[in-house]
Symmetry: C2
Subunit: 491 residues, 2 copies
């Protein structure tokens, strides 16, 4: 039985003032010393008595630590022969130690190898314009006009009456009463044709996109992407391994003929037909028909992102593409982040009937299910009519805010920002004069507390002209005036 004589014991640092119990400090010190190779397998360690004496502490924590380390297999004891580092621990630990030293100096821990998926994830430029809540944070609704007292009363009531079933594992598809309420709402407001069995509750539009990407596509498969388009969709699709085919948009929306030329083999199309992100136009009826036809003939899926079409000013909301699809090719995505508030983390997917098992399994694999509390509160909010009422009052508010942004742009920016898109939603886009760097403008604006989003990062093929997206949903009239004035200083 080989035994290594007690060598030099590395200094034990004990912190008597620490919250961590002594025995724990000590056992952790031993684990790390063994793991780093400072204590070698078979090496004798001091007796509990002499270590306690050496450290000037009671013997009790030392006994506790040794007992713990023995039960974990780091130390072993032989009657009459004392305690040593377990010999079963790989013996080349000291060699390992030398190697580690060079490893650590040669490259930072974990810094040696990165995936190509990392390049995708880290693609978006440092988005300083997202860091503050100032006007004109894109996607932020008018939180100040949200019926907060009503909502929080409702949530506390549901929190007090949650059943035991509601605390356990839930249905990956979501809370059935909420799915029923959504199916009904979408039928009436968006001409979506579905029943509750097709509705899948998600933690928002981003997760909805992730699930679509993982269920509908294999890694390496191609997807038409509106160019410019929603960067969150770029992220979701690329994370799932999809290859994006940029398809330009014009005044009628995505150019289907172009897509059919460059992406004939694509298996899916991502579009925002009601209010294109970021440019704001609505997809024309003829383009809609073309796209539905192309998808049906080419056995491709259409992912319809209907992120903010509750708000359309001047005309009635356009019906969804899903509602005119007779081939069950459209997967429809919606979110409550814009009509309620982002931290609600509730969105939904309307799935063609025979894909329901696939999406059910996809949600299960991705994060199991959504928490019940907000789902049940949201159901009541819709059922009691608060939701419809809130949308109506926000429509008026956003129309005012939109007019105010237009006015302020005319007043402060003149023709330095050419507003485009239709009268809808919670944001508008404008083009900057040729040669102006929109990312730089957004950075400058962020430093002044104004959050505008540059157009360029929404493009796959770099555009000739940059531009800005101004979210006016969360901006008061005073913020709007002040924000656009500050923006004029950045140009």
């Amino acid at each position: 039985m080989q035994r290594i004589p007690a060598g030099f014991l590395p200094p034990v640092a004990m912190d008597v003032g620490s919250d961590m119990p002594m025995y724990q400090q000590l056992s952790e010190w031993f684990r790390r010393s063994i793991s780093s190779g400072q204590l070698r397998p078979g090496q004798r360690v001091p007796s509990t008595r002499s270590l306690a004496h050496e450290l000037g502490i009671s013997r009790i924590p030392v006994l506790g630590a040794y007992e713990q380390l023995q039960s974990e297999g780091f130390l072993e004891t032989f009657t009459g022969a004392g305690t040593c580092v377990a010999r079963a621990i790989p013996a080349d630990m000291t060699m390992e130690r030398a190697k580690r030293a060079s490893f650590l100096s040669a490259s930072p821990p974990g810094g040696s190898r990165r995936t190509s998926r990392r390049a995708v994830l880290m693609r978006s430029p440092e988005a300083t314009w997202l860091a503050n809540m100032g006007a004109f944070r894109v996607g932020l609704p008018a939180l100040d006009a949200f019926p907060f007292a009503l909502w929080s009363k409702l949530v506390s009531r549901h929190a007090r009456h949650l059943s035991m079933e509601a605390m356990g594992y839930g249905d990956p598809m979501g809370h059935l009463p909420l799915r029923e309420a959504i199916a009904e709402y979408l039928g009436a407001a968006r001409a979506v044709r579905c029943d509750a069995s097709q509705v899948l509750i998600t933690t928002g539009a981003q997760q909805a996109l992730q699930i679509c990407a993982h269920v509908l596509l294999d890694p390496g498969e191609r997807v038409w992407m509106e160019d410019p388009g929603y960067p969150g969709a770029h992220q979701a699709l690329r994370t799932a391994g999809a290859e994006l085919v940029p398809v330009p948009v014009d005044a009628e929306g995505i150019d289907v003929a172009h897509g059919a030329r460059v992406g004939a083999d694509a298996r899916a199309v991502y579009i925002s037909p009601s209010h294109q992100f970021p440019l704001g136009m609505a997809m024309s009826a003829s383009r809609r028909m073309q796209l539905l036809r192309w998808a049906a003939s080419n056995d491709a899926w259409i992912i319809e992102d209907d992120y903010d079409s509750e708000y359309r000013f001047g005309s009635r909301p356009l019906s969804s593409l899903q509602g005119t699809d007779t081939h069950a090719r459209v997967i429809y995505i919606g979110t409550f982040s814009k009509v309620m508030f982002p931290a609600l983390r509730l969105g939904y997917i309307v799935v063609p009937p025979d894909l329901v098992p696939d999406f059910h399994a996809g949600r299960d694999a991705i994060d199991t299910f959504s928490s019940m509390l907000y789902q049940s509160a949201m159901t009541e909010f819709i059922r009691e009519g608060h939701f419809a009422r809130h949308i109506r009052s926000m429509r008026t508010l956003y129309m005012e805010r939109r007019v105010a942004v237009h006015d302020a742009i005319r007043r402060y920016l003149g023709d330095r920002l050419e507003v485009i898109g239709t009268e809808a939603g919670m944001q508008l886009a404008g083009l900057l004069p040729p040669g102006v760097d929109d990312v730089a403008v957004s950075r400058r604006a962020a430093s002044m507390g104004v959050s505008v989003r540059p157009l360029t990062p929404c493009y796959i093929v770099p555009p000739e002209r940059g531009g800005l997206i101004l979210g006016y949903g969360g901006a008061s009239l005073a913020d709007i005036d002040d924000g656009v004035r500050k923006l004029s200083l950045c140009l």
Copy 2:
């Protein structure tokens, strides 16, 4: 200007008793008739007056529908020439219609093509044993012993005091005070070495696994998987495109030497070292050292799933692998589903410092951020000491329940179920006699209201003997006795 004369107008079905306004029923009917090719581009439609007359309804809804359809581009009007279906709509719609008829009959909509990822998602056998709440649902804690009144009071208070910031977009890494509380808890209870900047809040362990899989691996890369192992991890890793290398486990945990032989090129290792899922053993100190050394030398990551190690009976909890790792190779995953309740949807990842930006971006791409309400309530629950108290009282309860399961197994099953694993956690596994089909037993048990999980679906390489996993966390002493008795009838 080519114009097609008004042809046969397909029958318009109006439902006067419907909740849907007349104008909307009508415009939807038109959209679908155009989209399906029943109305062709350029075809004249009746005047509003004559259609109203024909349908026996007021002219107002017909005017409303036509106006809407024009604004959407489905209809166009020429002064003096009446209204027709927009000619910009693709002209071969009628041909399309014929094609569609055959398409629909030849294959169900959407049924024509499926991804190979689908095969992964749909892999798990129909899990009837998950459908009920009966004893012994794996992973379900003792909801009846949860301090419900205290928790709901806390949640309602936070619901009433949520700030406007907390309703907007949150930090993808999570609520900082919660991350601080977790870092502190893990340091004390699990010897995890981290600070709050390394803690990422997730919607649970499943999402944590998804994020790890997407951040650490490219599609097609290989991962060691404990065999048997956690089916949720199979799903997460395969969904991300990883290839699983089954590595057997024995009484000391995963067989590192075997892994090094068959999976030398693997880029990650998935393990549950503190309480192996499903078999229940703890990984020995020497295997831990071997694995850490292998990962450091081979530039591979270790995903440590520490799903229920709060509960260990008889000895102090084993420290985490992360705490003995000196090479920053370990990504540590934990969840509150077991110590709090599953519908809380809160888990966490402890990330090596230099991978934090990658995981931040990964969480952002996957579903942006977690809702604030439960995060802030959970922070207070920990800070006020309720969390530590709850764990202590559950430890006593689960120890009792574990003893009761052991006793009941001895009484009713005798040697028909050979219990394995160590004294820990909320579940135990037992082996069935050779030749007994564990999936069939679980199905029979489910039909009697008893939820046991078969071992076979946890294996990649089919095992010689099947077995059952009994989750006793959520089962009362009466449930346990009754459940095991029923189980004996299924064998």
